[in-house]
């Protein structure tokens, strides 16, 4: 009996019961966000955070770099836009269409490319992304309106007879979805499935020897990431009221990579922090100069020099290395 209580004590010491405090805390901050910065900027931050959460699951937790993630974002945006524009579906259905379309695309790309690794996978995903871009640009011009983007999607945005036309209403609608996605992500990361993703990232060979079908792990991670991408794209359509062609362009893929790395890949809040810093700098500096990229780029270089693992990543490393030293000292005292 004594041994049983020992084990219980050990379990709480090695891993305290996980609590989603980080999710609810973040939600509180986000509730207040539009009172601090502009509502459109806040909304954009939420949308890109959802995109980043999914991208981080793939890059940060599974260790797979996709350089064509615009495909999921863009396809989600177009599918939702087309469904709303041509079939006159309500916005929730429109979002669902965008999500499903992007997940199907992820299944397709996954089935073809998942056995490739590292830079090969990055290149193949980039190729698929660009394929989609050019398809929307020209062959499907009749439907997608090519270079102009998909405009005049809806007259009014209504959800259960509540108008989302007011920017703040839309913001809180997107916030609700963001909080759900934050919580979902948190659950996934705490679950055996999430641990399995990390096992794959840490050591694919060993994960195989543990009995994991690593190809399947990677596939599921990609599809899951596609879900987030599609959702973010669809929400972007609601937010902008149209779909710019650039949502499929490789720059969009590059932007999400940059945001995630800047914030700290493989950390829970990394995407949110990266997105917020990126968009805030972009919005602020572009007020003063049309050459904002130059200054934003320079600032990024400085940030990455100070935080090589991304902002949250480096903070986490610092915290962990302190904790390790403490634990080792404690063990040494004990002996």
């Amino acid at each position: 009996m004594k041994q049983a209580t020992d084990k219980k004590a050990m379990l709480t010491d090695v891993e305290p019961k996980p609590r989603a405090t980080i999710v609810w805390g973040t939600a509180l901050v986000l509730v207040a966000l539009p009172f601090v910065i502009s509502v459109p900027l806040s909304t954009e931050i939420l949308i890109w955070t959802i995109f980043g959460l999914g991208f981080n699951l793939l890059l940060g937790y599974t260790g797979v770099l996709s350089f064509g993630h615009a495909a999921y974002f863009g396809l989600g945006a177009y599918s939702a836009g087309l469904a709303i524009k041509y079939w006159q579906v309500d916005i929730l259905t429109g979002i669902a269409v965008g999500v499903v379309a992007s997940m199907l695309l992820a299944c397709f790309i996954g089935a073809l490319a998942i056995r490739r690794r590292g830079v090969y996978f990055a290149m193949i995903s980039l190729a698929f992304g660009q394929m989609l871009y050019f398809t929307a640009l020209s062959p499907l011009k009749e439907i997608t309106r090519g270079e102009d983007g998909l405009t005049h999607i809806m007259a009014t945005v209504n959800l259960f007879s509540v108008s989302l036309d007011k920017p703040k209403h839309l913001y809180y609608f997107v916030l609700a979805i963001t909080v759900v996605m934050l919580y979902l992500t948190w659950r996934i990361l705490q679950s055996p499935f999430g641990k399995m993703l990390q096992a794959f990232r840490e050591n694919e060979e060993r994960a195989k020897a543990c009995g994991y079908n690593t190809t399947l792990v990677k596939f599921f991670s990609l599809v899951l990431s596609g879900l987030y991408g599609g959702l973010a794209g669809a929400l972007n359509t609601l937010y902008l009221g149209y779909v710019p062609l650039t949502s499929l362009f490789w720059l969009t893929s590059g932007t999400i990579v940059m945001m995630t790395v800047l914030g700290g890949r493989g950390t829970f809040l990394g995407p949110l922090v990266g997105v917020a810093v990126f968009l805030f700098l972009q919005n602020t500096i572009s007020l003063f100069t049309p050459r904002w990229e130059l200054f934003v780029g320079a600032i990024f270089v400085v940030i990455i020099l100070i935080f090589p693992g991304g902002i949250m990543g480096t903070l986490r490393e610092k915290y962990l290395s302190r904790k390790m030293v403490k634990l080792q000292n404690k063990a040494a005292d004990f002996q």
Partner: protein, 251 residues
């Protein structure tokens, strides 16, 4: 027979790394494969584990043909390998390293319940850490462990999959003589107390002498000798091949 190979061969281009070797392992047996560098020990081992596909011959586990099964499938059947070069999950805690391996059996695709709430799983992970003497280090990141501790963690990760056959690839590689002897004792303990069938690949003959039930000596991809430790060490061919070998840690 728990595990056997039937004239199994592996050729890499013109190199016959393993050439028609018959290997057998009985339930509960601790069997070692030894031989000088390049003898084909690790290749044979990887043929059994499912890392390589055999060029010729077959591998059987409980009379089931497992020749062409991949690594993760043989692991699921109950044959788990460790690595000569340490393969752990460096940025996770020691505890998580073992738990990730333990969860692979049934809960892996659950994405909603927290891993923390599977209490049997967590307790199993602690039990295994106790077996490989790493319980004190459970909260440390695996990357902060010493080399010897990592080798033990490696064994712990393999144990967590609840194998029937444990394949150990030079578990004492890079250890000092004192560490090597302790590790040999641990392996014997796992064999006796957990009734685990073990295949041990070793470069150093003296390690396996004290603990093996049987030894298979390979040289240039073929069987040179097979038998009890005494039979093998009395064999003149074996003595000739092993003449002038370096490190010797007699237990």
């Amino acid at each position: 027979m728990l595990l056997r190979t039937d004239k199994v061969s592996k050729h890499f281009g013109g190199i016959h790394a393993v050439d028609g070797v018959d290997f057998t392992l009985r339930q509960g047996q601790l069997k070692s494969i030894i031989g000088p560098n390049g003898a084909g020990k690790t290749t044979l081992f990887n043929l059994i584990a499912g890392v390589y596909l055999a060029t010729n011959g077959k591998v059987f586990f409980k009379d089931r043909d497992i020749t062409n099964l991949s690594l993760h499938k043989t692991s699921r059947l109950g044959i788990t390998k460790t690595y000569q070069i340490t393969h752990i999950f460096p940025n996770l805690t020691v505890f998580e390293n073992v738990r990730i391996s333990a969860q692979s059996r049934n809960t892996a695709f659950n994405f909603w319940r927290t891993t923390h709430s599977f209490s049997a799983l967590n307790e199993r992970a602690l039990d295994i850490l106790e077996q490989v003497e790493l319980l004190d280090k459970r909260s440390l990141l695996a990357s902060t462990l010493s080399h010897g501790e990592r080798r033990y963690l490696e064994i712990g990760i393999a144990l967590a999959t609840e194998p029937e056959v444990l394949l150990l690839d030079e578990p004492t590689a890079g250890m000092s003589c004192a560490e090597t002897n302790l590790c040999a004792e641990l392996i014997k303990k796992l064999n006796k107390e957990l009734k685990l069938s073990i295949v041990l690949v070793e470069h150093d003959m003296s390690v396996v002498m004290g603990i093996s039930d049987e030894i298979l000596v390979l040289n240039e991809g073929r069987t040179l000798a097979e038998g009890t430790p005494i039979e093998v060490s009395d064999n003149e061919e074996v003595q000739r091949v092993y003449l002038g070998e370096g490190k010797a840690c007699s237990a």
